[in-house]
Symmetry: C2
Subunit: 405 residues, 2 copies
Amino acid sequence: MHNVAGPEAHRPGSAGEILQILRDGKARTRRDLAGLTGQARTTVAQRLSVLTDVGLVREAEETAATGGRPSAAFAFDAEGKVVLAIDLGANHATYGVADLHGEILASATDMVRIGDGPKVVMELVLTRLEELLATPGIAERDVLAIGVGLPGPVDQHTGRPTSPPIMPGWDGYDIRTVLADRYCCPVFVDNDANVLALGERAVAWPDVADLMFVKVATGVGAGIISGEHLLHGAQGAAGDLGHVYSKAANDRPCRCGNRGCLESLAGGMSIAARLTERGVPADSPSDIVSLVRAGNLETVLALREAGRALGEVLATCTALFNPRVIVIGGEIVEVGEPLLAGVRESIYSRALPLASRDLRVVVAKSGALGGVIGAARMALDSVFSAQFLDQVLDKEPAEVGLTSA
Amino acid sequence: MHNVAGPEAHRPGSAGEILQILRDGKARTRRDLAGLTGQARTTVAQRLSVLTDVGLVREAEETAATGGRPSAAFAFDAEGKVVLAIDLGANHATYGVADLHGEILASATDMVRIGDGPKVVMELVLTRLEELLATPGIAERDVLAIGVGLPGPVDQHTGRPTSPPIMPGWDGYDIRTVLADRYCCPVFVDNDANVLALGERAVAWPDVADLMFVKVATGVGAGIISGEHLLHGAQGAAGDLGHVYSKAANDRPCRCGNRGCLESLAGGMSIAARLTERGVPADSPSDIVSLVRAGNLETVLALREAGRALGEVLATCTALFNPRVIVIGGEIVEVGEPLLAGVRESIYSRALPLASRDLRVVVAKSGALGGVIGAARMALDSVFSAQFLDQVLDKEPAEVGLTSA
């Protein structure tokens, strides 16, 4: 089992392919589905019976064919099942329960330090998930899959965090098995910025194939969707914007041990530290938000400075990825205008005309639930994906193919 | 018709899927193919007859099933057909004829300035292709498809160059139609660095999913393969390494109108100009190669300096894409060691441990024919791709599906 399946097409004539067709909510007859898939009606009937057995498809009202007798119609059954979504950050854990369309039915959030390690954090996560699943209206539903976003690189083959710098104790932790054992369902794990990119695209830019989501929180990270594919890279470390060299950071020391990293100037913690040095005590991204709301000029100036440095690196990203949309998210964007102004100033002063002429630089719309929306979307897309469904749902296809010959 | 099809799977039960299975060269019976595709044997038989009609599949020797009567076996027919490959650069045009395995059967190259415009260049290209196709052993073969690499951004929907900076007169030029009209076959067009990345991966790194190809020639460009997908971006401008800001370039003016671009320090033309200023006359990348071969110290130093600047930007790319392999290619790598030394020096001094621990930085192996190898590969992968074959080869699939029910 791969961790997260891409948008590959379904294996020929599979139950997965039929389910993908039905996910739009429309009811279809066996004949419709045979036409759409190029399969024999006997094959379609067999697939539908598997899908009905596992409860993903139900028989809908009959449809009267023109001049003929009515035929049974089948539709996607979104009732009775949910996916769980978990969004872990440096200092928070947010949980959600979503229906099979990805709508969040219930959610909760806790302040929790990821650095306390997996034992402490996962005990809380499991308790909270139980509570959410006890919500009236949800209590009776089955958990179909779980999606998780983690604040570090995630190996796409194992679903485990790989040397995550801000997650002491989590290196190689098998979160997938811990959750799968409890809920007996598939679990999909990815980096938080990647999950946020999926969430933001689902909420605000469903038709955009090239989108970059930049998270400005404690640190700085990015999730990059190029040609509809999320980039992961060889070790799951793609999108690591925070430790890219920034001219503006002026060789400032960074917590990674290097100098001049973007994060040393534009990360929430470094902005807070700089403000403190300048006599404006601040300790976290939320302090920064409060200070801007209180009209503190020093903080507004620091955000604009951070935005310029970020924009300098995003100009590089514009040349390398040629995105249509760059979304700036993370806690700081609640007061993001000074940051955005700095970002735009730098991007448009550096980027080439072709790559920047249709580029939009915008603030995230998915809000505090963006992570769980994205994690739910990842779980749904993965569990309904070709690879996954074909392997879970299909009977031996050769059998069917041969017997109908 | 899309310009270049990705590695999407074939439409269920399609002729395309059967052809993909057979491309490994092994002969298979109808029964084998029914088992592998999950299709009815009648459906498989119909697809095979379409593929045999267009000459892509032939009936192979009979195989004796254990204890039963022998069954007809079918195999991919690579004989009798070729693809044409065209690699256009700033100052050269290279042409190749490849068989359906991508092996180059014949090739030729001309010194030609792309800046002379499409009329002059394409007249030469069409003449040379005629000559190549008259080569003994090739003269009787059909042209199945054509692949083209151009030194500028290419719109992936139209196959046309989009505001290409070094191709005056080519903006929006419909090279696809010009070639398709002459050879009555599909034409696939992409940026030269992208085509080189495909060629290098095919020749040297077939199992690597995350590879970046950097071309150091007149300018600097890159083709980026991430998770097996070539990145194109919204306007086909992804991988534009040359105009990324470089600290080392120290605000040097660049031909793009900006300052401090990587290309202003590391591009072949700018290295040549710098050498000339320093009293070592040079006018082109090939002059640089000659100077290094003649032991000119100033040139070796300039290449190392260019390599350091390139490595600085590649450290950023390592953080953003997390590639497994970075390949440095282009004419200058014939004497590439000083350049490579500078590249490695900068990458490893900047890149994070996780992203750089398994990273390899190497010189291109595909040589002067890398562009045509890549263009042939693109043509083959595209013409044998799902989208493409399904639409060209398949009979009405619903018909088949329904009649066998």
